[in-house]
C-alpha cells in the first residue's frame, strides 16, 4: 500500500514536471509569434481591431494591442522605449519620430521591399529623420476646410481659398441669435489651438524654427496671429473650452458653418446617425495667404530597436500600410473616426471616393502638405507653443508678448 502510494506520488510528480516542461515550450514558440503593439486608443483602434483577426489568421502572428489615449501615448512610448520596454511595434504620430528615433529600428533596407511608388511621397517622408527611415506611413492626416454647402448656397458664397475670404465668409455666416456661428476652431489650452495658430502663421510665411532658432516673432507671424485672433470673433461662444471633439460636435449639431479640422475628424461628420448635416458638407484645402500650408500629421508604424521579433513586426507593419488594410480601413463603418491610407491606389479607388466625400481634398492636400520641424526637441517646442497659445487666447498675453515668449521658449529648448 505504501509503495503504491509512493508510486502514485511519483507519477503525479512526473506528470507535473512534464506539464511544466511542455508548458514552457508552448509559450516559447508562441512568444516568437507574438508581438506587442503600442496603439492609439479609441478612434483608429476600432478599425485595427476589426481587421486584426485576418492578419493573425493569415500569418500566425498574434498581436497584443496596448492602447493609450492620444494625450498619453507619446509619454508611454518614450518611457517604455527608453527603459528597454516591451513594445515590438509602435503606432506613432509623425512628430514623435525624431525624439524616438534613438530607440527605433532603421528600415531603409526593408523599405526596398515595399512598392513605395504607390505611397504619396510626403507620407513616406513623415517616417524619416535625418535621412533614415524609421517608420512606415499608415494613416495620412492633414488639415482640411470643412464647410456647409447648403448655407454657402443660400448666401451665394463660394468656399474660401484665402484667409481674407475665410474671415469674410465667417462674418457673413455668423448669426449668434440663431445659434449659427461662422467657424468652429479651438481657443483653449488644447494642442489644436496652437496648431490652428501655427497654420495661419505658416500661411503668411512665418516659420516656427528657422536656421535653428525660434522665428515666429516676425511680421508674417504677427499677421497670421492677428488673423487667427480675428477668426475667434466668429466662433461659438465657448471655444475657449473646445478640443478636437468639440469642433466636430459644432459641425455635427449644425452650429458652425465652417471648421478647420483634421481629415480623421471628417468621417463622423458624415455619419447620418450622429450628424444633422451629413451629406451637406463640402471639403476643400485650408486657406492660403502667401502660400498654402496644410499641416501634415501622418500616423506611422515603427519597430523597436530592441525587439526580439523584428521580422514579425515588419510583417505587421507592411500589412498595416498595405493596400488591403487601407481599403478595408477607408470603407470601415466607423462611428467615431477613421484610418485613411497613404496609397494613391486606395485614395483614388472609386469605392474610397464613395465612402469618403473628402477623399479628393485629402489627396490634393497631402501632396502639398507642410511638415512640422523635424527636430528631436520638437515635442518640447510644440508643448511650449501649446502653453503660450493658451495664454494668448485666455488673455494672459498680448500677441506681441506671445510671439516673443514662443521664440524665447524655442531657443531655450534648442540651447540657443
Amino acid at each position: 500500500m505504501r509503495i503504491s502510494r509512493n508510486v502514485r506520488y511519483l507519477a503525479v510528480a512526473v506528470l507535473v514536471v512534464l506539464a511544466i516542461a511542455s508548458g514552457s515550450d508552448a509559450p516559447a514558440s508562441a512568444q516568437a509569434k507574438t508581438i506587442t503593439l503600442s496603439m492609439l486608443a479609441g478612434y483608429k483602434e476600432d478599425v485595427l481591431r476589426a481587421n486584426l483577426p485576418e492578419f493573425e489568421k493569415k500569418t500566425g502572428i498574434k498581436v497584443v494591442v496596448d492602447a493609450a489615449p492620444f494625450g498619453d501615448l507619446y509619454k508611454k512610448q518614450l518611457l517604455s522605449l527608453s527603459t528597454g520596454g516591451r513594445y515590438d511595434v509602435l503606432f506613432m504620430d509623425e512628430p514623435w519620430i525624431p525624439p524616438l528615433s534613438e530607440f527605433l529600428l532603421p528600415l531603409n533596407e526593408r523599405m526596398k521591399t515595399l512598392d513605395t511608388a504607390d505611397f504619396i511621397p510626403t507620407t513616406v517622408a513623415s517616417g524619416a529623420f535625418q535621412g533614415t527611415q524609421y517608420a512606415v506611413p499608415v494613416d495620412p492626416n492633414v488639415q482640411l476646410l470643412v464647410y456647409r454647402k447648403d448655407l454657402f448656397e443660400q448666401k451665394g458664397l463660394k468656399p474660401p481659398t484665402t484667409w481674407d475670404e475665410l474671415l469674410a465668409d465667417a462674418k457673413a455666416l455668423h448669426d449668434p441669435a440663431k445659434q449659427q456661428y461662422g467657424i468652429a476652431i479651438t481657443a483653449s489650452s488644447d494642442i489644436q489651438t496652437a496648431l490652428y495658430m501655427l497654420l495661419a502663421m505658416w500661411s503668411y510665411g512665418a516659420e516656427l524654427v528657422d536656421g535653428g532658432k525660434g522665428s515666429l516673432n516676425s511680421a508674417a507671424g504677427k499677421k497670421g496671429g492677428e488673423v487667427f485672433l480675428e477668426l475667434l470673433k466668429y466662433t461659438p461662444p465657448n471655444v475657449k473650452s473646445y478640443n478636437f471633439a468639440d469642433v466636430n460636435k459644432a459641425i455635427q449639431l449644425g452650429q458652425a458653418a465652417m471648421a478647420i479640422q483634421w481629415a480623421s475628424g471628417a468621417k463622423p461628420m458624415e455619419d447620418k446617425q450622429r450628424s444633422s448635416v451629413a451629406g451637406k458638407l463640402g471639403y476643400a484645402q485650408v486657406p492660403k495667404a502667401v502660400r498654402q500650408t496644410p499641416m501634415r500629421g501622418v500616423w506611422t508604424v515603427g519597430i523597436a530597436k530592441n525587439s526580439a521579433n523584428q521580422d514579425a513586426a515588419w510583417q505587421f507593419a507592411t500589412w498595416l500600410s498595405g493596400r488591403e488594410f487601407g481599403q478595408a480601413a477607408v470603407t470601415f463603418p466607423s462611428a467615431t473616426s477613421a484610418i485613411h491610407s497613404p496609397r494613391f491606389s486606395v485614395l483614388k479607388d472609386p469605392a474610397t471616393k464613395a465612402a469618403l466625400p473628402y477623399a479628393d481634398a485629402l489627396l490634393v492636400s497631402l501632396q502639398i502638405t507642410k511638415e512640422r520641424p523635424r527636430l528631436r526637441e520638437y515635442a518640447d517646442i510644440q508643448e511650449n507653443l501649446r502653453v503660450t497659445a493658451g495664454k494668448l487666447t485666455a488673455g494672459e498675453l498680448t500677441l506681441e508678448a506671445a510671439l516673443k515668449e514662443i521664440d524665447a521658449g524655442t531657443n531655450r529648448i534648442l540651447g540657443k
Binding site: D72, Y74, K75, L78, L79, S82, P99, L100, E102, S188, S189, D190, P236, P237, N238, V239, K240, S241, K249, L253, Q255, R376, A379, D380, E383, V387, G390, K391, T393, A394, G395, E396, L397
Partner: protein, 289 residues
Amino acid sequence: MAAGRAGRWFLLPGLVFLFAIDLVPLAYSCWVSFYNWWLIRPRDIRFVGLANYTRFADDPEFTRAVVVTTLFTVGAVLVEFLAGLALALLFAQPFKFLRPIRVLLLLPLFVVPVVGATMWRVIFHPELGVLNYYLAATGLGPLPWLSDPRLALVSITLVDAWRTIPFMFLVMYAGLEVLPAELFEAAAVDGASAWQSFRHITVPLLTYIMLLAVLIRGMDAFREFDIIFVLTGGGPGTATQTIQILNYRAFGLGHMGEANAIGIVTLIIVAVMCYVLMRAVLRPQAAPS
C-alpha cells in the same frame, strides 16, 4: 533583557518595508533631481547639482503654479472643512429621517476621481451640459464654467469639494459621536447656550480630529491632479496650472531630473505646510493665571 533585544528584531520587517517602498524611492528621486536626464538622450546624462532647483526661482510659470496650487488648496480645504463640519453637526442631531441620507452623502467618495471629473466635464459642458441648461432656464446662465480663467479655478474647487466633503463629514461625524455626553448635559444644566456648548466644548474636544482632517485633505489637495487634468488640463491659459500639472508635463516630455525636482519641492512644501499648521494649532496653551 534578552527578550527585549529579541523584540527589536520584530521591528525589522516594518523597517525593511519602510525602506523599500518609501525611503529608497525617495532617495532615488532626490538623486535623479540633481541630474540633467532627458529620456530622448540616454547617453547624455549629466550631474547638474542644484540647477534643476535654482531654475524654479527664475521661472514665472513655476511661481504662478505655486500660487494657483496654494489658492486651490486653501479654497478647497476651507469649503470642504466648513461644509463637512456643518453636515457632521447636522447629522449628530437625533433625527431619524437623516440616517438614510447619511449613506447617500458618502456616495461621491466611492467614485473614481477620473470618472467623477469626466462626469463633471459633461455637466459643465457649455452647450450640452445639464448645469447650463437649467441655469439658462432660470435666467442665471449659461456660465463659462471651464473656459473663463477665474471661474475655472472655482469650478475645479467645487468638483474637489463634491468629492471630498463626505470624507470631512465622516471624520468629524465620527469625532462628534465619541464626545462625552456628560459634558454637554452639565453645560445645559449650567444654562449654556447651543453656541456656548459648541464654542467651549465641541471645538476644543474636536480640535485634534479637525486638525487631522485638514492635514490629510490639505496634503491631498496640494497634490491634486486627476480632477484638474480631466477638467481643464491646466487651462484656460495657466489659470488652473498647478505644480502637479507642471510635473506631469515634465515627466511626459521625458525630463526626469526636472520632474523629480518638482516632486521633491512639492514634498518640502507639503512638509513645511504640515509643520506650520501643527505648530499653530498644537502650541502649548498658556496656563490660566
